[in-house]
Symmetry: C2
Subunit: 346 residues, 2 copies
């Protein structure tokens, strides 16, 4: 049985999208799973009532698996992320993460400010020993299997040792949540040769060769849409959060755009085309895990639809059930004695 | 009248693709333009004969506008770029760039090793005063006008002052070759706010505010496929060569892939769909200028088709005719006295 806290106030379409997403999730999940909606009780109750009396009436039977957790404040996109915990301790973001930190909830999902979720999760859940920063992992659809790319925005300047940390936690996630046997880790660079890359990447390459991971060397931008490089399929792509963030946003924008343009040429409905290309529907993946913190915190896109929230809740449950968080801790602990790559990251 | 030197030995499909591209170019260009094919004379003559007796027979009338310039050596992809000039001074790459340095040819086009072309152009053509590195500019198709993105691979680690240099030379190129009145320059980052970005980008943002350019602030990955950001259309996107290279290769790979997949869903021939989406056909742009060197050196993709080479030759001619090289020198000279951003770039 899992209990997931959902930020009812976070995201461009809150409170409707997260609340509808929670209802959809419960409708699809086995009955032993429960959801806590965190936010302003009156707002949540009124939205829940409206949805259950209206368009989601068929989900009325899941209502008793929802608890409302009061959080009077809301973190706005204009709030400084690092000050969120101190200035708005009663916000849905802080209260939600606290439910996980206190062991009451098994995971937290929010479509609110990514920066605030990162900062609050970092402060309340803490990092595993051996890590200096958390990383955001994003699922990149490819022609083959989806890839886990990290970091996509938590760390804009990365030391080589941090890139190695991403490789370690990405390996655990890919195994636990994507079901990859022995995840192949590629280091994003500008050429496949070890000597290609910027300073951090070149050093990280050398560290990764001795990190005890299934490191397949450098991968290039062109390999990501294909999901494979010359050395075989790719499961995890490691990069700094600047490059990863630029690439993720580029991907999120070009995909729908090209699909729209080709659909127009073909005189087809883009939604129908998208329906046949499910692997490119980012809503299918729901959310990006914040990796490295001791607890499950899933970051959903600000524009998340109810479907995206529903899938993010499923990701949170799988993350919890897989024991991923403990496994990351174990793997990092194992790597400390014999590896020189988890030391100072400055 | 322009005279363009073409590396007949460079690229995956050499000598056929560059030679066929040269013939196509001459067929389309006014009769006062000429081409020098640089490479092994016997190989070039035999290929030219084969093409003109066979599939390109209708272009026999352009033969007398072609000169063959002997260069017995060929730079292989395995040759170290920085050693190309010293070790293979009689290669088509070195001889071709030398034609431009000596003022005999007005531009050089090659689909051979990008690293070698960069190194040789840098050493023989020299940089404009005020620059520390050349930059490769790539044309990114967008839903609106195409964008000039630089750098896409010449400089993997960039100091803030170098990013400002890219903005300056990109502005001149966008004006001279893309016909943009007052090119809008965006700085690629992870958020539109000035304080978002890695260390180099944050500093570059501040320098760009006072660089006397039409700086429109940070742009994000999502803005590139659209060609616009909240502050209007984008003409030039400035980034370090690591991020730019990853993004360019990603774009080159995802475009054809998505078009192929959607075409399949729509049961259309991908080539037919591509024909209706000309702005996404990279061959239309032919080549990426190496900017900052004192002369026209156009870098074509290793996989360049004859059409890509033909278009790269057209780019070289327009670059020369526009006086772009001198204009970049003038603009950089103007910016030196009153700007603190062109000093030390370490």
């Amino acid at each position: 049985m899992a209990r997931i806290a959902v930020d009812a106030m976070g995201g461009d379409f809150a409170p409707r999208a997260p609340i509808a997403g929670a209802l959809h999730a419960l409708g699809a999940l086995p009955p032993h799973h429960e959801i806590e909606l965190v936010g302003q009780t009156a707002v949540i109750e009124s939205e829940l009532d409206a949805l259950l009396r209206g368009e989601l009436a068929e989900l009325a039977h899941v209502r008793d698996r929802i608890t409302i957790v009061e959080a009077p404040d809301v973190i706005e996109m204009s709030d400084k992320p690092s000050a969120a915990l101190r200035r708005k301790p009663n916000s849905s973001m802080v209260v939600g993460v606290k439910r996980v930190a206190d062991g009451v909830a098994h995971g937290f999902v929010s479509a609110g400010s990514t920066g605030a979720q990162m900062a609050v999760s970092f402060m309340l859940l803490k990092l595993h020993p051996g890590l200096t920063r958390p990383a955001i992992g994003a699922i990149f659809p490819s022609m083959q299997q989806p890839l886990l790319v990290l970091d996509v925005g938590a760390n804009v300047d990365c030391a080589p040792a941090e890139l190695v940390q991403f490789a370690r936690i990405g390996t655990v996630y890919a195994k636990a949540l994507l079901g990859r046997e022995n995840p192949a880790v590629g280091l994003l660079s500008v050429g496949e040769e070890a000597e290609k890359g910027n300073l951090a990447v070149k050093d990280a390459h050398q560290l990764l060769l001795n990190a005890g991971l299934n490191f397949i060397g450098n991968v290039e931008g062109r390999d990501l849409p294909r999901g494979v490089c010359d050395r075989g399929p790719i499961d995890v792509v490691v990069c700094d959060g600047f490059t990863g963030n630029v690439l993720l946003k580029f991907y999120e924008s070009i995909g729908p755009m090209l699909i729209g343009m080709v659909s127009k040429v073909a005189q087809l409905d883009p939604r129908q085309v998208m329906g046949s290309l499910k692997q490119f529907d980012v809503d299918e993946y729901g959310g990006s895990p914040l990796l490295g913190v001791r607890g499950v915190s899933i970051i959903s896109h600000g524009k998340s639809s109810p479907k995206a929230i529903k899938n993010a809740i499923a990701v949170a449950i799988r993350a919890w059930e897989s024991g991923m968080t403990d496994e990351i801790g174990r793997r990092l602990a194992e790597s400390v004695p014999d590896a020189s790559d988890t030391g100072s990251a400055t």
